[in-house]
């Protein structure tokens, strides 16, 4: 690692910022190929129905209609809509249970048929001409009801609607003995909510086959290569005959767009013309998987001095109509629950349950906010029973460097105590906890929560990164990387790291991204993995490129390569910096060498993460609860975060700001709502499903604790998911401090708060 850094750590503009502020950045819906047909889908109005008969003949006869497809026209293959799960995961816990178009409707909104026509109006008319004869079946919307004998069966292979049940393998010790050893035992059950991801960009896909049969798919995906593999398998097309493209996507908070993609491809295949399929906001909200809704029961045992003796968690995963990421997110949840603190006896298990509501599937935070919501409230409950400060109880049970983190991999650096103490100081913890504050109908309280997060999916997922960097003639470097731009400025961060290693300027690094034809295999973006994995592969490949530049320059400068270095675009002799040549001159000398051995300087390589350093942090909330209206107002929020070395502070702050906002919505008002009788999603627009606006955000202070982690690129760890994780738990604990209530179901709406206050 360099002593002095000239690009890393600087507040530099986000990659493609100029394109974004001028409206020239192209998102998928902005792409218009000549001769493209408009796609439309027919969805089930019933939450549970068998399709007795489907007649598409009238639709097919409508002039302008070029393709109509139903279950009979699609590959008869089941898949998992998460894509990532079947491709990147250990497949033992995965289930393929979905067709491109359904043979039976399992939720109101399930895709039944699709049309491609010359324009949208014709496609819409054709959809209306498809006759479906449904046999409406009894439906079940509550996971506890769904498990009871006699409940409607949603998938034949799961007669009790339980798709998966297993004990989390890292469970260890003797859990019952752990509770016997405890002086205090607390237990609670919480129902977490099914948060919509709501990227502002609606679902969209364009598919086109060329004359040779090569398929190009433009889709807002976080994982172009996983999409390609899945499409190859579903449609029996060789991977090399598919190009998946996603340069920018309009928000990435989990894989949002999978179910639209194969329908669009099937339409293009049948119509033999390009097809653009766009979902409305309403359809996007029904279709995009949500955060998993859990019924989590936790039990915690502790000694009188606060030392933990036992931690036990049972999670009922409310999957909805399809399994998707039920295990993947919940494994992360259980890892967090049993792994955040030192504890000798830990146990967790999960049961995934189908119902007839829209599908869940891994949203920002990925099981961790839910685990935090349960565990961190249990810690507060135990601390109260014991009579110890919750801050001190947490610090007593913190892990140490070298302990296994929540992923089971060793902790490299650990500043959790500093994060907690800093936050406590900033919020005025001691003074505020010492007194019961009240004014009129207002009651005040402070609460906190702490957490671990990840820097990638290892050891659960494949996350090796492959990359090529080419030195252009003019001395610029071009990075080819399979990552799309989800908004977290990973391309810019990669460029900063490359510039630092190569001795170039930030603006010298160009990124070609999100295109499976142009880039080497990459797992995509998710699980805080980008910076750690991509940053490390950039260092590896850029270091190799630099070596080649120096070797080439050595021939011209007449000194051995190890006597050279690069700074600010110049290769110079370390002992005599006046003896130098520009990197552009080196590149040109390599390409246009008339004496032979001319070549383009480029390097490629891969990085396989064998570690997974945990970003850590703590959130503190100072809240005001109105006991007459039940309203919760956050007066102040302090968020302390250790994400290792900061490559670009603007990016890291922005990631945390956005995560915190997402956490506030999740905690307080984002309320997924399906009609209890019909299962139809009613929170299907931005009026009925409110996400935070600029007016909803409290005074927030973000503090970065910068402790470089040994295995990270320049010491960096992940950050993108962290903001959302502790917010709901910290607010819930603050509300308890203010008014002494614990709400069993999220979000903490005024109605629920008022009801709990009244029944106290």
């Amino acid at each position: 690692m360099k002593e002095e850094l000239s690009v890393v750590g600087k507040r530099l503009p986000q990659w493609a910022a100029h394109d974004k502020v001028t409206g020239t950045a192209k998102y998928i819906a902005d792409i218009n190929l000549p001769g493209t047909l408009a796609g439309k889908v027919l969805t089930s109005p019933h939450a549970h129905a068998r399709i007795k008969k489907i007649d598409k003949s009238k639709a097919e006869k409508l002039p302008g209609v070029e393709a109509v497809i139903t279950w009979h026209d699609i590959p008869q293959k089941l898949f998992n809509p998460s894509v990532q799960e079947s491709i990147l995961h250990d497949s033992r816990n995965e289930i393929d249970d979905m067709y491109i178009l359904s043979e039976k409707a399992r939720f109101a909104g399930d895709l039944i048929a699709a049309v491609a026509a010359v324009d949208e109006a014709t496609a819409e008319k054709a959809i209306e001409l498809i006759d479906v004869d449904y046999e409406v079946l009894p439906a079940v919307f509550d996971p506890l009801e769904a498990m009871k004998p006699g409940a409607p069966v949603i998938h034949d292979f799961a007669p009790n609607n339980i798709s998966k049940h297993f004990v989390f393998p890292p469970s260890r010790g003797d859990i019952e003995q752990g509770f016997k050893d405890a002086d205090v035992v607390v237990e609670a059950t919480f129902q977490t909510s099914k948060q919509h991801m709501t990227p502002i960009e609606p679902c969209v896909c364009i598919s086109s086959f060329d004359a040779s049969g090569k398929l190009t798919v433009w889709s807002s995906t976080q994982r172009p290569f996983a999409y390609r593999t899945e499409l190859a398998e579903l449609f029996d097309i060789k991977e090399s005959m598919i190009n998946v493209i996603c340069k920018h996507l309009g928000g990435g908070f989990g894989e949002a767009n999978w179910s639209i993609v194969p329908v669009c491809v099937a339409l293009a295949k049948k119509a033999k013309k390009p097809v653009k399929l766009e979902f409305s906001r309403k359809k996007s909200l029904v279709d995009v998987p949500t955060r998993e809704a859990y019924i989590e029961t936790g039990k915690l045992g502790a000694k009188k001095d606060g030392t933990l003796t036992a931690l036990k968690e049972n999670v009922i995963v409310h999957s909805g109509a399809y399994y998707n990421r039920s295990a993947a997110t919940t494994v992360v949840n259980m890892g967090q629950f049993i792994g955040l603190y030192r504890c000798p006896n830990v146990y967790a298990d999960m049961t995934a349950v189908y119902t007839n509501i829209p599908t869940s599937g891994g949203c920002r935070g990925y099981g961790t906010p839910e685990a935090c919501f349960l565990l961190e409230q249990l810690v507060d409950m135990a601390a109260e029973k014991i009579g110890i400060d919750p801050v001190e109880m947490r610090i007593k049970n913190l892990k140490k460097v070298g302990d296994p983190s929540q992923t089971g991999m060793p902790i490299e650096t650990y500043t959790q105590e500093k994060c907690i103490r800093t936050g406590a100081e900033k919020i005025g913890w001691k003074e505020k906890r010492a007194q019961k504050r009240a004014k009129g109908s207002k009651r005040y309280g402070v609460g906190m929560a702490t957490f671990f997060d990840v820097s990638g999916g290892q050891p659960f997922e494949i996350f090796d990164r492959n990359m090529k960097i080419t030195l252009d003639e003019d001395g610029a470097a071009i990075i080819n990387t399979g990552i799309p731009d989800v908004g977290a400025n990973l391309p810019g961060t990669a460029a900063q790291i490359a510039a630092e290693v190569l001795g170039l300027r930030y603006e010298d690094i160009h990124i070609v991204n999100g295109n499976t034809d142009d880039c080497l295999w990459d797992p995509g973006i998710g699980a805080n993995s980008g910076l750690y994995g991509v940053g490390n592969v950039v260092i590896k490949v850029a270091t190799e490129l630099k070596k080649q530049i120096l070797e080439r320059a050595a021939k011209n400068l007449g000194v051995p390569p190890d006597e050279l270095d690069i700074k600010d675009r110049k290769v110079y002799v370390k002992a005599d910096p006046n003896k130098n040549m520009t990197v552009a001159e080196v590149s040109k000398a390599a390409i246009y060498n008339h004496e032979g051995q001319h070549h383009h300087i480029f390097a490629k390589g891969w990085f396989e993460p064998t570690k997974n350093p945990s970003p850590t942090g703590a959130a503190f909330a100072d809240v005001e609860v109105d006991i007459e209206t039940g309203e919760i107002k956050i007066s102040k929020l302090v968020f302390v975060q250790d994400s290792g070395r900061i490559i670009n502070p603007v990016t890291v702050e922005g990631q945390l700001d956005g995560g915190i906002a997402c956490g506030l919505g999740y905690a307080l008002f984002e309320d997924y709502y399906t009609n209890p009788k019909t299962g139809v999603l009613e929170s299907d627009n931005f009026n009925t499903y409110k996400i935070p606006s600029s007016l909803d955000l409290p005074d927030t202070e973000v503090i970065l604790v910068e402790e470089p982690t040994p295995s990270g690129p320049f010491g960096a760890k992940g950050v993108g998911m962290c903001g959302v994780v502790p917010i709901a738990a910290a607010i819930a604990n603050a509300v308890y401090d203010a008014v002494g209530i614990r709400i069993k179901g999220m979000p903490l709406t005024p109605e629920k708060v008022l009801k709990a206050i009244k029944s106290k």
Binding site: V21, G23, N32, I200, G250, T651, I660, P692
Partner: protein, 160 residues
Amino acid sequence: MKKEIATFNVNSRSYDVIITPNMTLSELLREKLDLTGTKYACGVGECGACTVLVDGKPVLSCSTLAIAVRNKNILTIEGLANGTNLHPIQQAFIDHGAMQCGFCTPGMIMMTKALLDENPNPTREEVKEGIGGNLCRCTGYVKIIDAVMAVAETMKKGGK
């Protein structure tokens, strides 16, 4: 459906376009004029991503009929910069990291323009109110508000 030719002044350029009475302004911009910088995100005026200026006032182009704005001056994100010189709002958004995925950014910037034209010297609270109808899922708005405050400051010092 009945079609007619209408004239639209977009970004100081005049266009004659064949339209139907039900065509929205966002459809006109995105599909007829290829000005895809204006985003379509909710279709019912709930998110602000499609905001453009019509005679200087912010308008939700997804919920405005094209026919209603013919012969009026329409300004979209593509018309904001002066050639290659970015508008100070655009520059401030870059400098302050006021965008992430960038999908809401064109609408946010156009709303900011309307806000600052109306009130060149806003308080932080006024900025929050001004952009209160423009949803962003990425940023948590902090850096957007910082950018708007900074550009107000710059414009005060250096003029437009």
